[in-house]
């Protein structure tokens, strides 16, 4: 029975004004639905904040998991790199050892060949001796011929023998000269080979080492050891690259999750704007309460009170987000016109 509330109010000016309980009731009537909508919006913000916080926590937990995986990957990579360093040090040391052996082997062979060349030079002395013997034999044969002539018929046979001896001496001298010449030629060539192997780099017809000799066996062994080391180094490097790739993948995944978490921070801006609207609505309620109070005290006319009265439908026009309009419709039981617009639209 609001009409029973009608009473006379005394304004501060001393003037008495009529205050209607109906008008006060009308002025207070929109406040509960208004507050209901405000309350729903606040709950929206709370829910949205909770959802965003949960999404961020979930994202951060993924980041944490990935960070653990990545720490394991980095640890594995560090282990692989350490092994790689050890293996490379070992291989380097083995290479030096193999190279040392190779150099020693060639020095040894070089020394042997030089010794042979020296021995061949010594043969020249023997050739000279043979030549000397041939010359002496030739002279001896000539003397024998002279003595055979002097002996007359009795020395005829001896003369034949002396002639044959002279011929033998002559052939011996020729053979010795031939051998000497060959030895000189051979030693000259060997000296050239030992002092200059640059021809090897330019040679097109380098024979393959497919003959089973001491040298090919030795060099083959060294090549096998070198190949084995190369394969081992290749395997270690492959492991290293694989571990580095794994770290790269983990890092990329971590980056994606971190960026996702950063994206969820947009909730702060949305919540801020929703709370700003709530703040405006609360201010509306406060104004309405103050106006009603002013009317009750006779400081505001009924017309002014009704003119500035809040209306829950006016609140709808202030909503800019789909969620705000949907909440408003749900709370006031009106039709929701929102929710049909696309979230991303290119004009």
């Amino acid at each position: 029975m609001p009409s029973l509330l009608r009473r006379a109010a005394t304004a501060p000016t001393g003037e008495t004004k009529q205050v209607s309980g109906d008008v006060v009731a009308d002025a207070l009537a929109p406040i509960p639905p208004y507050c209901d909508v405000i309350d729903a919006h606040v709950r929206d913000v709370i829910e949205q904040t909770g959802d965003a916080a949960q999404a961020i926590v979930e994202q951060l937990l993924k980041v944490d998991q990935l960070a653990e995986v990545m720490a394991g990957d980095v640890s594995q990579l560090a282990g692989t790199l350490t092994r790689t360093e050890h293996e490379l040090t070992r291989v380097s040391s083995s290479n030096e050892e193999l190279l040392g052996k190779l150099i020693s082997y060639f020095l040894y062979r070089d020394h042997q060949i030089r010794a042979l060349v020296d021995q061949m030079r010594e043969l020249n002395q023997h050739v000279a001796q043979i030549e000397e013997v041939s010359r002496a034999t030739n002279i001896l044969a000539l003397n024998a011929m002279i003595e055979a002539v002097r002996a007359g018929d009795a020395g005829e046979g001896f003369s034949v023998v002396a002639d044959e001896v002279r011929k033998l001496a002559h052939r011996s001298a020729e053979a010795a000269q031939g051998i000497g010449s060959s030895i000189a030629d051979l030693t000259a060539k060997l000296d050239a080979v030992l002092s200059d192997d640059s021809q090897f780099d330019r040679a097109e017809d380098v024979p393959e080492m497919n003959q089973d000799t001491a040298m090919t066996r030795r060099l083959g062994g060294i090549a096998d050891a070198q190949r084995e080391m190369s394969e081992m180094v290749g395997g270690v490097l492959k492991d290293t690259v694989s571990a580095a790739d794994q770290v790269q993948r983990s890092s990329n995944a971590l980056s994606v999750e971190t960026t996702g978490a950063v994206g969820h921070i947009q909730f702060q801006d949305i919540s801020r704007q929703m709370l700003e609207h709530v703040g405006h609505a609360v201010a509306d309620v406060r104004r309405q309460a103050e106006s009603t109070s002013a009317y009750a005290h006779g400081d505001l006319t009924e017309e002014a009170l009704r003119q500035n009265s809040i209306n829950v439908e006016d609140l709808r026009t202030q909503h800019v987000m789909s969620r705000q309009r949907a909440t408003h419709a749900a709370q006031t039981g009106t039709k929701d016109a929102a929710g049909t617009e696309p979230l991303i639209e290119l004009f």
Binding site: S255, T259, G260, V262, G263, H264, I265, Q266, F267, Q268, D269, I270, R272, Q273, V320, M321, S322, A338, E341, L343, I344, E345, L346, F347
Partner: protein, 123 residues
């Protein structure tokens, strides 16, 4: 390098969007409202793309889009509005002001980068 200008009065938004775009390889210029963004454009900043909020102090995003179109060399630069607002009337207003597209917050990093690739195919 492709430059993106971000215009938003929320420092949090600027920070998070800048982080996402920088990580994706874009150079980023920021402004706290439309007026500041216009000043940057007048001082020679030439972004390949502008992403602007709508509700901002001093100058709102739609007014900014309209004014930005008048700046030298900005006639065809894509301008995306990134806002919490979803009303069609506002979208139409933005479109008439010269905006290229309308994105409602929140937009995930992958969605945002996908839209950027759509409006900047060569970048």
């Amino acid at each position: 390098m492709t430059t993106v200008m971000l215009v938003d009065d929320s420092a949090t938004m600027l920070m998070s969007l800048k982080s996402i775009l920088t990580k994706a390889g874009y150079q980023v210029e920021t402004a706290g409202h439309g007026k500041e963004a216009l000043e940057k454009l007048s001082k020679g900043v030439k972004p390949n793309l502008i992403i602007s909020d709508v509700n901002m102090p001093q100058m709102d995003g739609i007014t900014f889009a309209r004014e930005a179109r008048k700046a030298p060399g900005m006639r065809f630069t894509p301008i995306l509005m990134l806002t919490t607002e979803s009303e069609q009337t506002k979208r139409t207003e933005a479109k008439n002001a010269g905006a290229t597209g309308w994105l409602v917050k929140p937009v995930g990093p992958e969605q945002l980068l996908g839209v950027i690739k759509q409006v900047l195919p060569g970048a």
